[in-house]
Point group: C2
Chain length 261, copies 2
DNA sequence: ATTTAACGTATCACTATGCGATACAGCACA
DNA sequence: TGTGCTGTATCGCATAGTGATACGTTAAAT
């Protein structure tokens, strides 16, 4: 009745489960481990509630508890879930061997990114050179409009949806050179439509260049992209197009026809 | 009261959350997507219960629902959880750049495995050659006793625990040559104690060889190992020791001292 | 066409179950 | 020895999850 903000939430909604999941989501790169109190503060839930939820998550193997500090951390179960995800994603199975082959050929970092709402998410990463940590691990989400993979994907969408995305999807400053001007992004995507690939630079990290090609589905619409990420210290636009692009396109195109299901 | 099999489960246990988690766990490589009915069968829960739990998981973004078939699949959220895990695991951050460097040097598949109960779990994988799918994705759990990484880890443990592990930890047949004789495993681990590394062959997959070294913690006890996996068609024991082992040991040892926290 | 089955969806009364205030215990820092 | 943190345990109450039942739709079978 006197429910604070929650919308209707009918009888098919299990609040206790949702709260538990929200506890999981409370962990992130800035807070990779927490005490009960911190969790309570962060989630805004009652101390007792957190106690019960955390205890349950611990007993079920989803949270590890440091025997000394009693602080809670994500457990190996979180990795097992990723393992499951991979089996359920039809794209990964067919793409993986080709991505490995590509990374071997080029000797540069190859990523597989999928669209996830208005972000892209890195589903597979094959790092070949040292980069910063976040660039080596899967599951990272980035604003689609700011990434070459996101733009490559969008370039295959019908104009209306594409335009809506360009106008409304979120942008965030990562570097001083992250493009925040939507007109400039539109131009970049228009180029991608014409060329079939997208190049970006300094968007997430200074002196990082990326080139991406869409993996086009049966309906002509891409939901994923193959991306190659290199250092601008040793690469430039011309070399990228000459030495990387042909193989990248080959790989992306060779994955596309396999998407019959 | 008339509770079927469940043990006590005191007042600090949120059954609804636990059930929801059990729904997540119902998905695996053999069942990567399911209908409500299948879920009910598989979890043994009431149809209505599954309906509510699945609906909640869907609304919270943990299950994707195919608009046509209404079947449920793991969502991208499962990958985000893995992303979180990586930030919380102190080992990964220090190990990753060195593993990348190692894989580049050797041009062979490098894995980082951690002990997780009586299994090892692959935390990071850097595939360089085509292998079968399951060998390319993180989160896979394998019986520790059957893997070179598991044996390398165990070799650093105090004798009592080590012996208990050898006697009681589970074994499973993966290939006709998977070793099921615990005495033979004990001998293999004794060798590892003497040499500081472990070699295995044909254990998970025929004609697959693996060599692993422990990453030793501050207390002298390993909880993880670096493993290199190669094809027996192009490698043999002697070459493995000559061309891979030195670098592998270097890498493992260079990670160890960084584990102060 | 008609039947049957299987599935996803919706409703509802009951009470088991999760809620949160409160009190207790252990460990720091002063 | 106090003070303020932790994490842990208890308990009565009413909410919130339960599971039987029923409805509607789709797909295969006759």
């Amino acid at each position: 009745m006197a429910n604070t903000g929650e919308t209707k939430r009918d009888t098919l909604f299990v609040g206790a489960l949702a709260k538990g999941l929200r506890v999981l989501r409370a962990f992130d790169e800035s807070k990779p481990e927490m005490s009960l109190g911190e969790l309570a503060k962060r989630t805004g839930m009652d101390k007792s509630t957190i106690q019960r939820l955390a205890n349950t998550l611990h007993l079920e193997g989803y949270l590890d508890k440091d025997p000394n500090t009693r602080r809670l951390r994500p457990s190996h179960a979180w990795l097992e879930l990723a393992y499951c995800y991979y089996w359920s994603d039809p794209l990964v199975g067919t793409a993986m061997p080709k991505l490995i082959e590509l990374s071997r050929q080029l000797g540069e970092t190859i990523n597989l990114a999928e669209i996830s709402g208005d972000h892209i998410i890195y589903v597979s990463r094959l790092p070949c050179k040292r980069t910063y940590f976040a660039a080596t691990i899967i599951g990272r989400r980035l604003p689609a409009l700011s990434t070459s993979a996101g733009r490559a994907i969008l370039s295959t969408w019908p104009e209306a949806e594409r335009e809506a995305a360009i106008e409304t999807w979120p942008l965030k400053v990562f570097t001083p050179r992250t493009v925040m001007d939507r007109d400039e992004i539109r131009r970049s995507i228009d180029e991608t439509i014409a060329n079939g690939f997208s190049v970006s630079r300094d968007q997430m990290l200074l002196n990082e260049m990326a080139i991406a090609a869409p993996i086009i589905g049966p309906d002509g619409r891409a939901l994923a992209g193959v991306q190659c990420s290199v250092s601008a210290y040793t690469w430039d636009d011309a070399r990228l197009r000459a030495e990387i692009l042909p193989w990248l396109l080959d790989t992306a195109n060779s994955i596309s026809p396999a998407l019959r299901s």
